[in-house]
Amino acid sequence: MPPIINPDLCIKCDRCVNICTEDVFFGSKKHETPVITYPRECVHFNGCVDVCPVPGAIWLRYPMPSMIVYRTSSDYEAPPG
């Protein structure tokens, strides 16, 4: 569940920890790689990704139940058999 941090790229600047309104990073220690204590409380507003100064150090994985439903040209075809 989101967010996900690459500890090799994280520079431990705490920006994501500071801005997250839901505080999914609660319990993180200053200048250490943030811990994701409450992933279920992420609302996917991308604030943490926006403020991160290192591309690829943090990203969001969208939970499966939130996947949107869309229609392709073959979705209405009867299933084989």
């Binding site: 801005i19 997250c20 309104t21 505080d23 409450y38 609302v43 507003f45 939130s66 949107i68 869309y70």
Partner: protein, 545 residues
Amino acid sequence: MEEQLIECDVLCVGGGIAGLMAAIRASELGANVVVAEKGNAHYSGCGRRGNDHFETWIPEVHGADKEKFIDELLKTAKGEILIGRDILRAQFGKAHEIVELWDEWGIPMRQKGKWEFAGHAFPGRMMTHIKYEGRFQKTVLVQQARKRGARIMNRIMVDELLRDGDRVIGAVGVHTREDKVFVFQAKAVILGTGKCSRLYQGLTPGMMFNDGHGGVQTGDGRAMAYRAGAELMNVEMPQRHIGPKYFAKFGQATWVGVLRDAEGKPVGPFVSEPDRRYGDIVMEVNKLAPEQYGERGRGPVYMDCTGISDEDAAYMRHWHIHEGNVSLVDHMDAEGIDPRKHPIEFSTYPLRGGGLIVANEKAETSLPGLYAAGDEAMGDISAAATFGWISGDTAATYARTVEHGDVEVTRPIIAALESRVDELRGRGNGPDWEEANIALQQVMTDYAGKVRNEARLLQGLAHLRRLRQKVDTEMMARNQHELGRCLEVHNLFDVGELTFHAALDRRESRGLHNRPDYPFKNPLLSQAHIVRMEGDRPVTDWRSY
């Protein structure tokens, strides 16, 4: 537990659009202002990641008579909204000035130097919403508030108002990371704490933060206002929204498309081909359309943008990002979903708590020293910005006329909160906030949900009270973060209980209040349905507005 006293002229509870605009205006008028925000004001509230539409009368566009603009709104989009004309006059008397201020501060309200009206529109009628690039609006407003000397205190959840006689003289709250209580001695308090999510089951039951407003707008303001004796109105009238199925994101008017059924027929009569000027306002006329189509065996319903030009697709993407839908755009990119090729299924979103804190055109509530703005009082970004400003003006002016109250006379309220905190933190077993919240959502959805009748409402209320007793005696918080969530759950239980009371008292069917035991709309009840506390019980009343 450490207790800290903070003195200020004006306390803004909540650092959303309304709270920050209130802070800006009150500071300009010379007030010593504190904003207490339970998250981080840079990324809190409904406007946290942006908006792209702002409803406003612009004299050089609409003509000098704003009454005609209001007439048009009442004839069309706002026709069913229970708002007095004096409120709309106050909003649109100020909104065009706010728009100019925002533009000056660095929130782009004009596009290439001009007003661009689009979306939320009936073809052939007056256009009422300008497009604006709001992605970084919160950052701009935080800077503007600080520039004027307002002190923004993040991670403080205000939980109770302090009263001396009728007058509100401050508030008390907790830090959501550290073991601290904050007592605010304030001459005026402005509530701008947003909507009421997490009261009903959401799109994915149990995943409470899949919510277009985020998951932390839990009716805190209306709950504490009620406990302090202020009047609320229309608490039983729930709200619903519409958007992409399963990923709760707003921005109905940002889509350049047509809402169509499975056979490709437009759901509404307003547009038959995608048109960036209008969007498809059928979603605002009837947010229940996808649900009704489903119930009648005619679903699914899609937002169909297929065939739009690359230019229109880029336009829509740009505005989704400013509307706060970066994650939606990212998700579609990652899954290979292209709105030019793939119709996106839309659904009616589940119920959300309703009601407002009663506030007049000056943002004054029924208690001296207490003001309300934003979604707690009016709703939408234009109203939040405008009444935020108005509340700051009124509160700062009032603060000049009074001395500080003595918060020590409110010691029992402060002590009660401290004792509740100790209990929640001290328990080692029992339901956590999440379990309690899910139980509440279950009873709200099943007994005060889409269909209501007297027996069901009475049974649900009885069950809610039993749950409440467990919450009061058994709920536990493992740390300060969970403590904040527990206090939110307390607030939600208060709003839930009031919803049952008010729903029982509204003996008619209207809007989303569906009572088959009173199936008709009663025109005599086209009034504000007031609820307030007398003793320790809610009493209801009807009042014209």
